[in-house]
């Protein structure tokens, strides 16, 4: 009887500690696996032959940041349309589609991106931009002769497009839920002052939904920077900085999945490679943790700012 009671008292703590234990276990075992071999000066550098990570870190941010910007702008547009402007029956069709999109496995995006979107964009969009928008920094091809290569479509630009599409559902649905949570009488107060729907959306509803907007941004960024398979399939994997938007490069995540095979196999330097990939994983983990913490802080600050608490 006594034993049973003690068990009843302690089990919630045991369960509650699982996430903490898991986080610590991942960090600790990865650190051990990496043997802390490379965390020197060259590790933070651009020299990939000397196990520098800066190319991959840059690649990750070069894909995740633009994808996040696009997904936030388009997502906010969809969220406002669905909550404010669309007739109810249309919103009732659109909203579940967005939720459905959020659940598509990334390998599906990868295959689709590689076999269908890449040749389409390569031929119809990137070839055109390479000729007509060459004046924009980054849109000029390295050589005029590289047009056939651009026509294949894979590279940094395609990775950004696919990433945008992948995180768009999550940013959209988080912002949509935040806008739906704006109280009806707050809306009516704005309209009762003679404001139009757009003015109330812009000045009242979106500021009221600010926490949801920040939440969408941080969650979307976390997904974008950690996305692996789909990016690997469309980025035209190369261990170098891209010289333009059509060029191939690597993100931290895509490098890990792309090198895991060679690192595991015969390759005499394989041990070093494995260490390096573990280290890269730790860096990726720390970046996502930092983003998470920053997001929480930002959301709390927004709350203070709005409510003055």
């Amino acid at each position: 009887m006594v034993h049973q009671r003690r068990w009843l008292v302690w089990w919630p703590f045991a369960f509650a500690l699982i996430p903490l234990a898991l986080t610590l276990a991942i960090v600790f075992t990865l650190l051990r696996a990496s043997d802390l071999q490379d965390f020197g000066w060259s590790f933070w550098g651009l020299d990939v032959s000397n196990y520098g990570i800066l190319v991959y870190v840059t690649g990750s941010f070069l894909t995740a940041v633009p994808a996040l910007l696009f997904a936030m702008v388009i997502g906010l547009g969809i969220a406002i349309a669905s909550t404010t402007y669309l007739p109810r029956f249309l919103a009732a069709v659109l909203d579940p589609v967005v939720d459905l999109l959020a659940g598509i496995p990334s390998i599906v995006y990868g295959i689709w991106g590689y076999f269908i979107v890449a040749p389409f964009f390569g031929k119809n969009v990137f070839t055109w931009t390479a000729i007509h928008l060459a004046w924009i920094p980054g849109f000029k091809p390295t050589h005029d002769s590289s047009l056939p290569l651009i026509a294949t479509g894979d590279g940094l630009a395609l990775a950004i497009i696919i990433l945008t599409l992948m995180i768009l559902p999550i940013t959209t649905l988080l912002m949509r839920d935040a806008l739906q949570a704006v109280p009806r009488d707050l809306w009516e107060s704005g309209l009762a002052l003679g404001a139009t729907r757009w003015e109330v959306t812009r000045r009242v509803a979106v500021p009221h939904a600010k926490r949801g907007v920040w939440g969408a941004a941080f969650l979307g960024f976390g997904r974008a920077i950690g996305e692996t398979v789909a990016v690997f399939m469309v980025i035209d994997q190369a261990s170098k900085l891209p010289t333009n938007v059509y060029d191939g490069t690597s993100t931290m995540a895509s490098l890990i999945i792309g090198s895991i095979d060679s690192a595991m196999e015969l390759n005499p330097s394989g041990v070093t490679e494995l260490h390096f990939l573990c280290e890269l994983a730790i860096v990726l983990l720390l970046i996502t943790l930092a983003v998470n913490v920053a997001g929480r802080w930002m959301i709390r600050r927004t709350y203070t700012e709005v409510a003055g608490l």
Partner: protein
């Protein structure tokens, strides 16, 4: 216009044979009622009697609810606001509205009061002067004048509700519609809001929806008693309270309404 007899000069809003239906249900049933300048009319009645629906027809807020059908006329200074040529945005700027819950916006105290002016692009000096005046008229100025940049949500509930009144006043409406404005407030805050309203009735037309007969007795000049969407009785507050002509009114004001 010519077919309708000219309204007495102090009638600001004239409701004529108003009927509001939703699907098969009649919410307001052939209701006619005038609202005069410099008066506070309390619209009272049991829950579900249609008083909120009624007040929302006065500035076309009913249009924001799907499936409501409005017939009859609401004349603002002679003009039927349900005329197809009338822009509801203009109507709402002439007839301000305050809701049951304080509905301050997520912005500073100053910007809340300035909201209605900002959306029409009023020049800065004008906004400054109008905000100060509106906050004074709403009886909030002394409490907030040092901290106009603070978030409005940091105010107490009663202060928030007076800020909502100030926000509505800042665009200089002729009519202020109040839908149970103290139902979410404690007695002290209620008393402050009531004092504010009493000060305002010298300047504009006030229509106060309330389920609280005591509140109507304290501050209204006239009481209109609604029941099942019909106007049962309307008259000077003292008359309605002391000599109701209809049994139903008497039952309601004496709290014996079942």
């Amino acid at each position: 216009m010519s077919a309708i007899p000219a309204a007495p000069s102090d009638v600001v809003v004239a409701v004529q044979d108003l009927t509001v239906t939703a699907a098969a249900k009649t919410l307001i049933d052939h209701l006619s009622l005038d609202f005069h300048a410099r008066s506070l009319t309390a619209v009272v009645g049991p829950s579900g009697c249609g008083k909120t629906t009624f007040v929302r027809t006065l500035n076309r807020m009913t249009e924001l609810t799907r499936g409501l059908n409005v017939e009859g006329a609401v004349r603002y200074l002679g003009q039927n606001i349900y005329d197809p040529s009338v822009n509801p945005v203009v109507v709402r700027r002439r007839m301000g509205m305050v809701f049951q819950r304080p509905t301050v916006f997520p912005m500073s105290i100053f910007e809340n009061a300035a909201f209605g002016l900002r959306i029409v692009g009023a020049p800065e000096e004008e906004v400054d002067a109008a905000v100060t005046e509106a906050l004074q008229r709403a009886g909030l100025w002394e409490e907030v004048k040092e901290e106009l940049d603070r978030p409005a949500l940091s105010l107490s509930g009663g202060q928030q509700q007076r800020l909502c009144i100030a926000r509505a006043l800042a665009v200089r409406p002729r009519v202020l519609l109040l839908d149970e404005p103290t139902s979410a407030l404690d007695p002290a805050a209620t008393q402050r809001v009531e004092a504010t309203l009493q000060g305002l009735k010298e300047e504009i037309v006030l229509v106060l929806v309330t389920h609280n007969v005591g509140q109507a007795a304290r501050i209204s000049d006239r009481i209109a008693f609604l029941h099942s969407g019909k106007l049962v009785e309307v008259g000077p507050t003292a008359d309605i309270l002391e000599r109701p002509r209809v049994k139903l009114t008497e039952q309601f004001i004496t709290g014996r309404y079942a």
